[in-house]
């Protein structure tokens, strides 16, 4: 199992805080919505990711556990 960052795009309103707190995995598109790098979080990023999740005003950011061999 590894952990990835995921955005609930319905809840997200593009505040952009996540990209500031976790630039290693999140950048913003032309309209200010987060584009998430699907690579698993490394141990040193874990704390930053948790801080980004907690900071989202819409609770739209989540950490999702994934089986490493997940196909899609």
């Amino acid at each position: 199992m590894s952990t990835v960052v995921r955005v609930n795009p319905i809840a997200c309103d593009g505040s952009g805080l996540c990209a500031e707190l976790l630039p290693e995995r999140i950048r913003l598109d032309d309209w200010g919505y987060p584009i998430v790098d699907p690579r698993p979080l490394t141990p040193e990023l874990r704390e930053h990711a948790e801080r980004a999740v907690a900071a989202c005003p819409k609770l739209a950011l989540l950490l999702q556990k994934e089986a490493a061999a997940r196909g899609t």
Binding site: N8, P9, I10, A11, C12, D13, G14, D29, D30, W31, G32, Y33, I35
Partner: protein
């Protein structure tokens, strides 16, 4: 008729995949729902919102009991006692036919319900359909949970396209070997294809997977006049130029080479007289407007991309660099696959009509403008 347990094995062995456009293996979906702890519900999805697809409506008009047989068999296989048949409000004739057919059913231990949902391109997406069936706006929801885990009223829900259910009934009757007698090992069976545009006899045709595109168009009376391009896979599909289409057949393995897919089986022949860029801009605007409006990248991205195609069609400015960046920014960024399907269409429009883009930027156009591909209800 096979036992409940047997049906899932038969369907799995048949290799049947969903015919709503997603192509998910039906046997796997049945097994997932059957494994749920709570009693599941079956939803027969007849909400065919795509303007260039008519196959689900035709099937419901002509053979409603085949669809209902499939739904009853699927219900027995997964342990459901309730089947909801979902049709959109605009499908007046189908609502009447299905309503009459439901009155004729004598399935023991099975409750049927006909549900009429709002029309719309996205309504048929399974989570959007479940929202509509629960009295909410017909908009997709964030997953997980997937419908097979938690769907209608919280119950595990098997959502199957109506054509898929008809195939389930036929597999139960004739067996997986019969089903596999046509098509290929990886894409077995036959499917219903809606063929429209510049053909002699537009309509719905059943054909095996792997039927050469040329033969399929011949079935529909052949191309009327000179073809400009073929839209394969409907509005989530790709344009293919008339030369490339000659060597292709209706098979994902084959269409992949042209960046296309069978999808829900809609094929539109655009005549050479119509401007493909102008048509693409119109379909692009339709797809942008049909966004459920929930996800920022879809709302902003599809709107921007439709605007870009309109700018190119008007010959105002070469905004292709922006458009290519936006394509990458919309893929995979919605709660559903609407932005992905639309991006596929936009990308193929820019590729196949690249020559036309150059002409328009010089203030010229090789064809006529005006609505040729319908973006409203026409059937």
């Amino acid at each position: 008729m096979p036992s409940a347990r047997g049906l899932i094995e038969l369907v799995t062995d048949s290799g049947l995949r969903g015919r709503g456009g997603g192509g998910f293996p039906t046997g796997r979906k049945l097994a997932a729902v059957a494994a749920a702890r709570r009693r599941p519900i079956v939803v027969a999805n007849g909400a065919e919102g795509e303007p260039v697809s008519f196959k689900d409506k035709l099937l419901l008009r002509r053979a409603p009991h085949l669809v209902l047989d499939g739904a009853a068999l699927a219900a027995a296989a997964v342990g459901a006692r309730e089947v909801v048949v979902a049709l959109d409000r605009m499908a007046g004739e189908e609502i009447g036919v299905v309503s009459d057919a439901l009155d004729e059913r004598r399935d023991r231990g099975l409750g049927w319900r006909l549900a009429v949902v709002p029309p719309g391109f996205v309504t048929g997406e399974e989570t959007a359909l479940l929202s509509a069936l629960q009295g909410r706006d017909p908009k997709p929801t964030f997953t997980p949970p997937r419908p097979y885990e938690r769907g209608l009223n919280g119950a595990p829900t098997l959502v199957q396209n109506v054509e898929t259910l008809a195939h389930v009934a036929l597999v139960a009757r004739h067996g997986p070997h019969w089903f596999r007698a046509v098509g290929t090992a990886r894409e077995p069976g036959s499917a219903l294809f809606t063929i429209s545009g510049a053909v002699g006899r537009p309509g719905v045709y059943e054909a095996s997977f792997g039927t050469p595109m040329r033969a399929l168009v011949e079935r529909a009376g052949g191309v009327r006049g000179a073809p400009g391009a073929f839209l394969v896979g409907g509005f989530f599909g790709s344009w293919i130029d008339p030369v490339a289409v000659q060597d292709l057949s209706m098979l994902d393995a084959d269409l992949e080479r042209a960046g296309a897919a069978v999808g829900a089986g809609a094929l539109v022949v655009l005549p050479a007289a119509a401007c493909g860029l102008d048509q693409s801009a119109r379909v692009a605007r339709y797809l942008a407007e049909e966004s459920a409006g929930q996800c920022g990248p879809c709302v902003n991205g599809l709107g921007a991309l439709a605007g870009a195609l309109e700018t190119l069609a008007a010959g105002h400015a070469d905004c292709r660099p922006d458009a290519l960046r936006w394509l990458e920014q919309v893929r995979g960024r919605g709660a559903c696959r609407h932005p992905d399907g639309a991006a596929r269409f936009f990308e193929s429009s820019l590729e196949v009509f690249a020559g036309e883009v150059e002409l328009h930027l010089q203030g010229r156009c090789s064809g006529r403008r005006g609505e040729f591909i319908p973006t409203g209800r026409t059937w």
